[in-house]
Symmetry: C2
Subunit: 247 residues, 2 copies
């Protein structure tokens, strides 16, 4: 399993991914799911991947190879983020079909974000079918993998005006909730920020399992949540509905 | 979709369910998913259902009929909660198979909780296959339907010593998070408490969409969560990892 989230706000994009892969509980490994395409001062991309590891590795490998061989379509030649997303989707499908690997077990999903000079920064989710959706003002974040546990906090905190630092913190809280509920999502946790128009992928941070900040955040969030819950007004039970019980 | 949660603590059991059913977005209806089997001063049961509405309605109908006809095995004759869960599972499977309805689309899951005199109160989750699991000291709550969004708060708050009132409030917060993230889960929300050794199902409350308590709880929890998040220490970015970016 995997959990990746990317948040696109006015000031830039936050990318956050876990690093646990597993094919059964005794086949758990650590693989980064964050791929940086640092293509100079005019284009920067980050890809996060979820799903079949062979498919996603082959897709990243092919995309790097296309850049190296300067094929007609690659991340250096696309002129928009939509073109980049379409290209990634085609490469992903081609890798899956190469081995006659159809079916959900061989599928991979991707988050692709970044900026091409002269255009706004942007974020897309590429489905296994090769098609994609973009983030929007109403939906500033996109997730792949085990998305549900960590969604409520994103829904409450994130909007277009959220700062990059706050968005990054929220992504880590969302990751913490997911790790707590799904053992197949685990550290190291990688976070990278892209500030709009900076054409530089930084800061980057990789939080290991024993990282102090991550451990403190986990503990602090647990305590704050419990406090928040304890501050709620107790339930006011009215017994007027007692008659309903005997229906 | 559906979300039902039941929490079994030392002092009793809390049951909480939504009431929205849908077969496509334009076929949304309101059906209670909470069924009370008030069988007198020596046995009380509550069933919550998720999944195919025809299967779950047929299952509840057959269980009531078995009580009325006093068949050899029914909720009045079973001697343990495990027997009750096995019986429910058999009825559910029989209803599904009656119409040659195999496959996930016809499946239903159930939560069954209650108490038989002379035994402890207990809680079970009955799968579509007819088998079941019980709650435990380590896992005091069980969920069916859209369980993920509302799980993190349960994991943080609930343990064996949680009071029934706190457990009920936590179930409502868990329900609120689920409703916020999945439109197919919706009010009225039903909550019922069973106090251990009381052999009475009360209090019961049905919260309609415009219920003041539910609306205030939603708002208060939203505010408290945002406050909790805002109280977290900001991220401490170290640029020492900058070298990693250029790898």
């Amino acid at each position: 399993m995997t959990y990746c989230v990317a948040i696109s706000v006015n000031s830039g994009i936050v990318f956050c991914s876990d690093s646990r892969t597993n094919a059964g509980v005794d086949m758990a490994s650590v693989y980064s799911k964050m791929f940086r395409f640092d293509l100079g001062t005019e284009r920067q991309f980050v890809v996060l991947s979820a799903g079949n590891l062979a498919t996603s590795q082959a897709t990243m490998h092919q995309m790097k190879k296309d850049i190296r061989l300067n094929t007609p379509v690659n991340l250096n030649t696309v002129t928009t983020l939509n073109e980049a997303a379409d290209y990634l989707g085609e490469v992903s499908r081609a890798q899956m079909e190469r081995h006659d690997n159809s079916g959900p077990a061989f599928e991979a999903s991707f988050l692709l974000g970044g900026q091409i000079k002269g255009r706004d920064h942007g974020l897309a989710l590429i489905y296994p079918a090769g098609n994609h959706i973009r983030s929007s003002v109403g939906t500033p974040y996109l997730q792949i993998g085990e998305s549900k546990y960590g969604k409520p906090i994103l829904d409450r905190i994130i909007n277009q005006d959220t700062t990059l630092e706050t968005a990054a913190l929220c992504a880590l809280v969302s990751m913490d909730s997911t790790m707590r509920s799904n053992l197949a999502v685990g550290p190291p946790i990688e976070v990278i920020l892209y500030t709009a128009n900076s054409f530089a992928l930084q800061p980057y941070h990789r939080f290991e399992e024993d990282n102090d900040f991550l451990r403190d955040l986990k503990k602090a969030w647990d305590n704050r949540l419990k406090e928040a819950f304890n501050q709620l007004s107790p339930m006011t039970w009215t017994y007027k509905d007692k008659k309903v019980i005997n229906q």
